[in-house]
């Protein structure tokens, strides 16, 4: 039981971590990328630019968090 709980906590930390919005945003970006790629559009810039944007947003939120 303890092992299961450790295993569950590990995956929670691994996927969710300190900022759950990163995981949600990555899933959304991958969905958009897949849709664009399968529609035959140029999709390769979406993920790098999207990752830069969500990283900026996450650092910006941490910057504004009350100390």
């Amino acid at each position: 039981m303890r092992l299961m709980s450790q295993f569950g906590r590990f995956w929670y930390d691994f996927v969710v971590g300190d900022d759950w919005t990163l995981a949600v945003a990555v899933v959304a970006l991958l969905g958009i990328t897949a849709a664009m790629a399968h529609a035959g559009r140029v999709a390769w810039p979406i993920l790098p630019l999207g990752v830069a944007a969500i990283l900026f947003a996450s650092v910006w939120r941490a910057r504004r968090a009350p100390h």
Binding site: F14, V15, D18, L30, P48
Partner: protein, 245 residues
């Protein structure tokens, strides 16, 4: 001549995949400890052996894109969390929250756990994923290159030669890497995991990168520029706040 070209092609293509796996294993091993990372590598090799033995040439029918999007996506999420922490630390924002001490305590705790022989699931999982995915790609290369020329044996020779060269390179790189300061290494690992995550998950989502595998270098460069840009911005922003106060 065809035989030499087949070996060379299998060597180069396999070496690219193996270097990617090596980068991840080195990064995880140096920052989180070698024991669990080695277990991850071993488990991935066992899984690969079972899959290759069970499927043989049918390995080419595995849904590699689905694996890329899942493994790449998880690496991307994990790498982003690591990179975010490194950026906050480098810009001094973590120090504002007294996180430096917490971070140091985490490292000390990790070292105590490692000394007691506790298993580090992070190191295990990241090493496993990197080696498993890249190992599958090497198996694909061998089956497709060798199958196309009707000589899988020569493709295996090329891949085996690549493995020897990459392992030697890893042994050489390991010593200088272990002398790099911990924070700098963590920053580097965040950049590498995020870059590999972007590259693999985008491929899994159906993206064709301009320049194929070579574009990974561009992705790494982009993530480095973005990360250092964010550190500079956050530092400047913080300095301005301190000046006003």
């Amino acid at each position: 001549m065809h035989s030499v070209l087949l070996i060379a092609a299998a060597f180069l293509a396999s070496a690219v995949e193996m270097v990617e796996a090596l980068t991840i294993v080195l990064a995880v091993g140096v920052t989180r400890g070698w024991r669990s990372a080695a277990w991850g590598v071993g488990a991935a090799l066992v899984a690969l052996t079972v899959i290759v033995a069970a499927l043989g040439p049918a390995i080419a029918t595995l849904p590699i894109d689905a694996l890329r999007i899942v493994i790449g996506g998880l690496l991307l999420v994990f790498g982003l969390q690591w990179l975010r922490k490194a950026i906050l630390r480098a810009s001094g924002l973590k120090a504002l929250h007294d996180e430096d001490a917490i971070y140091q305590a985490e490292i000390d705790d990790l070292r105590r756990h490692t000394a007691r022989g506790a298993h580090d699931w992070y190191a295990f999982t990241v090493a496993f994923k990197g080696v498993f995915l890249e190992g599958l790609e090497v198996a694909f290369i061998i089956v497709t290159f060798g199958g196309a020329q009707k000589n899988v044996g020569l493709a295996v020779i090329g891949a085996a030669a690549a493995l020897v060269v990459v392992l030697i390179a890893g042994a050489i790189a390991h010593a200088p890497l272990s002398r790099v300061p911990e924070n700098t290494l963590k920053f580097g690992v965040g950049i590498m995991l995020t870059s590999f995550g972007i590259f693999w998950s985008a491929e899994g989502a159906g993206v064709s990168w301009p320049g194929a595998d070579a574009s990974l270098v561009g992705v790494i460069g982009f993530v480095i520029v973005v990360s250092f840009g964010l550190v500079t911005w956050a530092r400047r922003d913080r300095s301005a706040e301190v000046a006003v106060a």
